[in-house]
């Protein structure tokens, strides 16, 4: 089973779920972060022969992570409404504990995960605009010079939406419209610096040079279409 952890309104995740189902291979199942956070029973064993994670959901269904072949991880936040009424100090402590638990078990999964969590973001690496632009420069994208004083925000690159190209880099493979070698290398280099297995990179060509626009670990699979779905299934080796 491929486990897709996503909010019920995550259209990209639901689209991917449908495409995986249509592929006729291994089944895929969507669970929400709330179902996991409010599970009747959560057990994670570490450092023993019984290592493993299991959730018994509110509907009594049990998900043993050992039965999961791959995870599509789209957790942005962990619902915690059940502790809202606790005193502030207890609530803050419990909130930290729940987040730490989620980070821990997602990071411990032995199966392929797109994307594994990072300490700063459960759904995979997240970087500031400043860092993303730095990676882009180092990777070889064209960037517009900018100066920032304290308190000044970075203005987003003014790209015409219609001219933006979306590419994906999955385990070092570029998926999307054909690129020249230098642009392809820039994409791969950028993804390495970004640090996620699957990265969406938006760029555009201006005055003959490819400019970086934005990037995300939360891919919109719909933009990658069938090619991206096939690449994900291949990476999962199904």
């Amino acid at each position: 089973m491929i486990l897709i952890i996503a909010e019920p309104f995550d259209m990209a995740a639901l689209w991917l779920h449908t495409r995986i189902a249509e592929s006729g291979g291994i089944p895929a199942k969507v669970v929400t972060p709330a179902q996991l956070s409010y599970a009747l029973s959560i057990t994670q064993y570490l450092g023993s022969p019984h290592d493993g994670i299991a959730f018994r959901l509110a509907n009594e269904e049990t998900i043993h992570m050992r039965d999961v072949a791959a995870v599509i991880n789209r957790i942005v936040t962990v619902p915690q409404a059940h502790i809202n009424q606790a005193p502030e100090a207890d609530r803050n402590y419990a909130s930290s504990e729940i987040h730490a638990f989620m980070l821990g078990w997602l990071g411990a999964l032995p199966c392929p995960v797109f994307n594994p969590p990072s300490p700063e973001s459960l759904s995979g690496p997240w970087h500031s605009d400043i860092a993303a632009l730095n990676f882009a420069v180092l990777a070889g994208f064209a960037c517009t010079p900018a100066t920032l004083g304290t308190g000044e925000g970075l203005k987003p690159f003014a790209a015409d939406t219609a001219s933006v190209d979306t590419h994906f880099v999955l385990d070092g493979q570029v998926i999307g419209a054909l690129l020249d070698a230098s642009a392809r290398d820039a994409m791969i280099q950028f993804a390495q610096l970004w640090g996620a297995r699957l990265v969406q990179i938006d760029s555009c060509v201006r005055e003959g040079r490819r400019h970086f626009v934005t990037a995300s670990s939360m891919a919109d699979y719909r933009r990658g279409g069938a090619l991206l779905v096939r690449a994900i299934l291949k990476a999962i080796q199904l």
Partner: protein, 313 residues
């Protein structure tokens, strides 16, 4: 030149400044208490990335001139004079300045001990445990659960083999490690609200290893307490600290863990069993090394500033 960033009177920062002075290492100090009068200006060079200056009272640093930075910044929300933020208001100038500083520290070239983003791994002990195991250390048998029955079964399993069970926080929130007792059974139902971490107690000698680059400084701790940081409270006697030497394989594992976590300066908590097995509990991303240095005389601050200056390994 190296930059030392933090509160200059705080012991680890004070020792780093003193070590830089004693070793003739050019250094600048960013006194975080002066944040309101400081400015961090960044300019994007289309080929070299971000360049800039950090300026403030007694401080005017070309960021490109820095070989290394010691980062020991306080959470800016708790700085003196900073009022509690309204979650619905725009970020304050204090928050904006610190966000910019953290963003830059995450990508600054040179030796950074350590980058704010890398320090976040300490937010989750089980997350770090994945790296600890990859580095070659054992980790204690652990159950994280919100299920009282599973917790009791784990306790019974450990007790049947003669071992006690302790419980402690999953997150980086400081908690006092406690032994599981009969009194805890009566309130175990509370864990249904939030998973709790239970661990088979590992008996043995506590060791703190400070890693700087590829150098290790090991301190052994003698204490009867469950948590030696609270030895006076738990056992009535203060912990005793002394320098120790570790097998090369353990030193290598510590350096490996430091590398995996991208924490070139870290404090690693180990316990060696009577059988000679090394268990690792966690890696502290911004260790309060001065406590150990003051008890043992290990030259940790000297090693830190020399590493930042690019002297030695």
């Amino acid at each position: 030149m190296i930059l030392i960033a933090g509160i200059p009177t705080e012991s680890p920062v004070a020792r780093a400044i003193e070590a830089a002075e004693d070793n003739g290492i050019a250094h600048a100090v960013f006194d975080q208490r002066n944040h309101a009068e400081c400015d961090l200006t960044l300019t994007l060079d289309p080929f070299a990335g971000w360049r800039g200056t950090l300026s403030g009272p007694g401080l005017d640093v070309d960021l490109a001139s820095l070989s290394g930075i010691y980062v020991r910044l306080m959470d800016d929300r708790f700085l003196p004079g900073v009022e509690a933020a309204d979650p619905f208001a725009p970020p304050s100038s204090v928050a904006l300045f610190h966000k910019r500083l953290h963003d830059w520290l995450d990508i600054a070239p040179g030796r950074i001990a350590s980058r704010p983003r890398a320090m976040l791994s300490n937010m989750s002990k089980p997350y770090q445990a994945n790296f600890i195991q990859r580095a070659g250390f054992r980790t204690p048998e652990t159950l994280i659960t919100n299920n009282p029955d599973e917790a009791l079964a784990f306790v019974a399993h450990c007790e049947a083999e003669g071992d006690a069970v302790i419980y402690k926080s999953i997150s980086g929130t400081r908690s006092i490690v406690q032994a599981f007792t009969d009194a805890d059974r009566a309130r175990l139902g509370r864990i249904r609200w939030c998973p709790v971490q239970f661990q088979r107690q590992v008996r043995g000698q506590d060791i703190r290893v400070h890693v700087i680059g590829d150098q290790c400084f090991a301190t052994q701790i003698h204490s009867e307490a469950t948590d030696y940081r609270y030895a006076q409270r738990q056992s009535g006697e203060a912990a005793e600290l002394s320098i120790t030497n570790l097998p090369d394989s353990v030193n290598r594992a510590c350096v490996s863990l430091s590398g995996l976590l991208e924490l070139p300066f870290t404090g690693i908590d180990l316990r060696v069993t009577p059988d000679g097995d090394y268990y690792c509990f966690e890696a502290n991303p911004c260790p309060a090394y001065s406590y150990y240095e003051s008890h043992t005389g290990a030259p940790i601050a000297r090693a830190l500033v020399r590493w930042l200056a690019g002297i030695g390994s």
